[in-house]
Symmetry: C2
Subunit: 139 residues, 2 copies
């Protein structure tokens, strides 16, 4: 099950923009009556996040925070921002990782780590995932 779709808009570090100028806030609040979270700084993960709750899934807006943000490279390559990754929830991440490795899909770390939302996660290599950065998260 997909739990989140992470976007990386530009307007880095300008938190005022988070609530104002971006399409996804402008239109999803207005047209879809979506709930939008307050911006949350996660300095240990180098991002500021805002969640847009679309009912059946969530959009996660990611903004770089600090000097070594893991999304800065993406924003350097994608000047207008873009779709950064998808996150798929699984019931048993250890089983999932075992199965992924058995299929020769490369993981970006040897073991799961605690992700930005306090749960074990694993990132998979985009080249093995149809060009898409995929995060697997324990549900």
């Amino acid at each position: 099950m997909i739990c989140r779709l992470a976007l990386a808009p530009t307007g880095a570090n300008k938190l005022l923009k988070l609530r104002k100028a971006q399409f996804l806030l402008n239109t999803t609040i207005d047209i879809l009556k979506a709930e939008v979270s307050e911006p949350l700084d996660l300095p240990e993960h180098g991002v500021t996040t805002v969640f847009v709750n679309l009912g059946n899934t969530k959009l996660e807006l990611l903004y770089p925070l600090g000097v070594k943000s893991p999304i800065q490279n993406f924003l350097d390559k994608n000047k207008n921002g873009g779709l950064h990754h998808i996150c798929i929830e699984v019931d048993n991440i250890d089983e999932a990782v075992k199965s992924i490795k058995a299929k020769k899909i490369r993981c970006l770390s040897e073991n799961t780590k605690i992700g930005a939302h306090g749960k074990p996660v694993m990132f998979l290599h985009p080249k093995d995932c149809a060009g898409v950065l995929v995060e697997i998260e324990q549900a």
Copy 2:
């Protein structure tokens, strides 16, 4: 509500690959027990589609079909494939488009068109949507 997340894997026009080599089929079927549709050619839209049903949302795998596929340009720029667009369902697309235009978000056509799935759709300009190609679809 998000209804689809469209990915454009490489392996164009090799339909055997649709059911075999790609990560999203390999892993989502196995780990997530997702339902995967048969490949469907949509020659009038220049794509072959495969849906992966994740319960709360769908992944749509898009493959170019024919010589003028609208996703060929994307695949030329993204050699490994990637996240092509997101599709958001709305209850009333005419109202949604009116609201979008009022916000000076550019639409890619003057009026809605019938999309690949038989419903009225409108595509929005990525530069006005945090770098993301967004499709609005009548629910």
